[in-house]
């Protein structure tokens, strides 16, 4: 963002990157609050932010208990998605035949509407943790797999030739060149997958569940507890942001060269860089 001189003051500083979006949020919340006061919109349709906060606090035990359920589904499903995505990517990149046979179906698998498949998982496994984990894994593995496949192609072929003159075995070429070159791609996939994982968990719970934040939303909807519903949505968003932040934190730890080496955020700029920046601070 260097040289961005559109304003009289600097938008570059790290503080501004936090302050500006926070100020915007405050403005939106204030307008929202004002609207609920001046209009006659019923609280059951649009509760005021203060009312949402109050309801959330009042039902904090309910929210916390259900949060653990959903977080567990997300984490297990996400881990499964990583394993599935990475293993598939390595398999596909290891053989032309496997690539030809599997890759088209990988793409086709994304045309299958996951919410429609979810009930089948419930039939298979019942109402426990498993169908939700499966839905999370199913929606989250695709960006991981596709990015990893691209990543495993990313190593410079010249570098691989050089490594052969240094007596590198195929495994060493993988370990020292293909794999590290693929990691930034893997992390791009993980960031997309983090957002999808939360969606997957909510879907999974809607289809068949007796607990979790997604389930809670259905219950609250029936009871017209709109303010608590909003509070639940807020908690779900926080989970999503936290997962995203965790991925970015991990990326910074594992790929210091990607950040320090290129100067912070080269390759990502503008809003994406800000999102990364904010995510990293959460």
């Amino acid at each position: 963002m260097k040289g961005d001189g559109r304003r009289g003051f600097s938008l570059d500083s790290a503080a501004m990157r936090i302050v500006a979006p926070a100020a915007f949020a405050v403005v939106v919340l204030a307008l929202w609050q004002l609207y609920t006061v001046v209009s006659d919109v019923p609280e059951s349709s649009l509760p005021a932010p203060t009312e949402i906060a109050r309801a959330g606090w009042e039902h904090r035990d309910l929210l916390i208990d259900n949060t653990w359920v959903t977080v567990e589904e997300i984490l297990i499903g996400f881990a499964l998605a990583i394993a599935l995505g990475v293993v598939l990517a390595i398999l596909i990149r290891s053989s032309r035949t496997i690539e030809r046979a599997v890759y088209p179906w990988l793409v086709v698998s994304q045309m299958v509407p996951v919410p429609a498949v979810a009930p089948i998982f419930v039939i298979w496994t019942g109402f426990d943790l498993r169908p939700k984990v499966m839905v999370v894994a199913l929606v989250a593995f695709f960006p991981i797999a596709v990015n990893s496949i691209d990543g495993l192609r990313a190593a410079d072929p010249q570098l691989l030739r050089l490594m052969r003159t240094l007596r590198a075995s195929r495994w060493q070429q993988f370990r020292y060149a293909r794999l590290p070159a693929a990691l930034p791609f893997l992390f791009s996939g993980l960031k997309v997958a983090a957002a999808l994982a939360v969606i997957g968990a909510v879907f999974g719970e809607w289809v068949g569940s007796s607990e979790g934040l997604g389930h809670l939303i259905l219950v609250l909807n029936n009871a017209t507890e709109t303010a608590t519903m909003f509070a639940t949505i807020f908690v779900l968003s926080v989970i999503g942001i936290a997962l995203f932040g965790l991925v970015i934190l991990l990326e910074r730890r594992l790929l210091p060269w990607y950040y320090e080496g290129r100067g912070a955020n080269r390759g990502v700029s503008g809003p994406a860089a800000d999102a990364v920046e904010i995510g990293a601070r959460l």
């Binding site: 010249q158 570098l159 050089l162 052969r164 007596r167 320090e260 080496g261």
Partner: protein
């Protein structure tokens, strides 16, 4: 010659199957070449004359269509026996300067600790002291080339193919690195085959210079430089014999370019 040349190429020919429509392309045509142990030999030629193809054969990366390559007079497995430094430095962005330099040792099964230790002890000589923990993208182009050279040196090859290692550098850095390379070579006496399109660079560095012509690539002329060592930029480059050789080689290269055009 009493002892066989360290590296010898006999009648090397390389033909590539033609791309869509065209017939096969002959990139190299009967290249003969010999480099004695500890000798510094350069190949000059216009771009596209098949220098890189030749190096790929000598490094054992591609098989020749005809001809053979001998190490110490014997046919031998070349891949892994010959050091190869391509034009691009090809440092791994995810490894520090030190770890990049130590790569060859590590690939040979030396522990990371020991590989790093051995690389570290060479850093001052390669002008990299104090930069061991920098990422490649944080150091200058000249340093990157020296780090790549150190990687090649440490891999334990005593025959090294250097493909225009200084081609992408600015003129000043280039001259500095030429002098530095001469010092290193004088200390270690590796056998070096060096590709460049810069006649002056070739003459300044080498014991012998081969001039290559393009399409198909073949060696048109070989000259013994015969200038005393150690060489220094001023005295060596102003020597009348240097100017003489330079004029001869440039004239030959220009004729080659015109003939090809």
């Amino acid at each position: 010659m009493a002892e066989p040349p360290r590296l010898r190429a006999e009648g090397l020919t390389k033909t590539f199957p033609g791309r869509s429509g065209g017939g096969p392309v002959r990139a190299l045509d009967g290249v003969d070449l010999a480099v004695a142990p500890g000798e510094f030999v350069s190949i000059v030629g216009p771009s596209g004359c098949g220098k890189s193809t030749l190096f790929n054969l000598l490094a054992g990366l591609d098989p020749p269509s005809a001809g053979r390559i001998l190490l110490d007079g014997q046919p031998a497995e070349l891949l892994g026996a010959i050091g190869y430094m391509p034009q691009a430095d090809l440092l791994m962005p995810w490894r520090t300067v030190l770890d990049n330099a130590a790569l060859g040792l590590q690939l040979d099964g030396v522990s990371r600790r020991e590989a790093r230790g051995r690389a570290r002890s060479e850093l001052p000589r390669f002008g990299l002291a104090g930069f061991e923990d920098a990422w490649p993208s944080q150091v200058s182009g000249g340093m990157r080339q020296r780090a790549a050279l150190l990687r090649t040196f440490l891999a334990g090859h005593d025959v090294m193919l250097l493909d225009e290692p200084f081609g992408a550098l600015d003129a000043l850095t280039r001259e500095e690195l030429q002098e530095w390379l001469l010092r290193i070579w004088q200390e270690d006496r590796k056998t070096i085959l060096f590709v460049t399109h810069d006649v002056e660079e070739a003459l300044f560095l080498s014991d012998r210079v081969h001039v290559m012509s393009g399409r198909p690539g073949r060696i048109e002329l070989s000259v013994d430089v015969g200038l005393e060592r150690p060489r220094e930029r001023g005295p060596t480059t102003t020597d009348p014999r240097f100017a003489d050789l330079k004029a001869r080689l440039i004239a030959l290269l220009q004729r080659g370019v015109e003939a090809a055009a």
